[in-house]
């Protein structure tokens, strides 16, 4: 009988207005248990108001070896950034 419980990744929203952030992982037999354990393990000091748990096996991750074609093309597209555009100094905020 399999008794190695699956790994869950834990994401916590530390307060409303912020997005959930990955904080670590844990093992649990099912999602409900994972949620409770996440509460017990990762919010012992009031660190959160909301928890997500996701089975680690269900996460599809990009391959770092593909980094050059996935992410580098964006690095020379500076026209996506506001500082690419000149506006007169008199315009204070834009």
């Amino acid at each position: 009988m399999e008794n190695n419980w699956p790994l869950y990744e834990v994401f916590i929203r530390s307060k409303n207005g912020l997005s959930h952030k990955h904080v670590g992982s844990l093992h649990a037999a099912d999602a409900e248990m994972a949620l409770e354990n996440a509460r017990d393990v990762y919010t012992r000091r009031n660190e959160g108001v909301s928890i997500w748990v996701v089975k680690a096996a269900d996460i599809k991750a990009s391959d770092p070896a593909d980094g050059d074609f996935l992410f580098e093309p964006a690095s020379d597209k500076i026209y996506r950034h506001p500082t690419f555009y000149d506006v007169p100094d008199a315009v204070k905020h834009m």
Binding site: M1, S25, A29, R44
Partner: protein, 317 residues
Amino acid sequence: MTQISSLEERFLQIIDADEKIEPKDWMPEEYRKTLIRQISQHAHSEIVGMLPEGNWITRAPSLKRKLALLAKVQDEAGHGLYLYSACETLGIDRSTLLDQLHTGKAKYSSIFNYPTLTWADMGAIGWLVDGAAIMNQVPLCRCSYGPYARAMVRVCKEESFHQRQGYEIMTVLCKGSAEQKALAQDALNRWWWPSLMMFGPNDADSTHSEWSMRWKIKRFSNDELRQRFVDMTVPQAELIGLTIPDPDLKFNSDKNGYDFGPINWDEFWEVVKGNGPCNEERLKARIDAHEKGQWVREAAAAYALKQQQKSTISKIA
């Protein structure tokens, strides 16, 4: 071959630029192995480290002390968990790591093979053992492996109360009756040298250090950290009227730090080899907990599987 060397070059560039290596990045096999060894040893130390202090939870002398100790030992479980998680990102699962602990293949910090004989040992452990651990751990927050560094940030943040509660216990004992002060001194006498040993062998005899430093897993040498610990701790002992059990201890104004006597490395290696006062008890306690939990883990897994099947069936229907 050329591909490997270019990967290795890229890897070292990342290290040299003080950037982080993440789980799926290419890394030299030796780097991975070193990390697994170090992180798992660290995780095992947290878990085995629960036992000597756990020994006094049921006998803590006040409600305040009981709650603090319980929370502290629980933190250690949490730290073990963060570290096992970090280790698992390197492609080894927790059950394998636990097997390595239970079969004696993996080591844990020798300090936990010493017995906790009196309540004062809770003070000494918090003050000295956690103090030494923090000394070791703070630089690890900047370690080159991302998941380890992040786990250590969490650990260090939580550890800060541990040392304080230990020192507070010692302070109260030193202000108490003569018998209480004697308990505190006795605990210091027994824990001082093992605490110094926690930093590992002298630099000249340390086998793993060179690469660990190159790869920025480790940032300071064993002897550097040990010296810092002594310099920090001696004044704290004096402040509460305790005597460090080292006749050779003397302030050296040239190096602006303390000279201290030789460490009994024979004792250290004996304990590492398994001949410390509590090696057998500690390992047995861990194995017992694991074996007695076997049916619980199996049952929960079986139940989860049944629920999954039920929901699949209801979806099909």
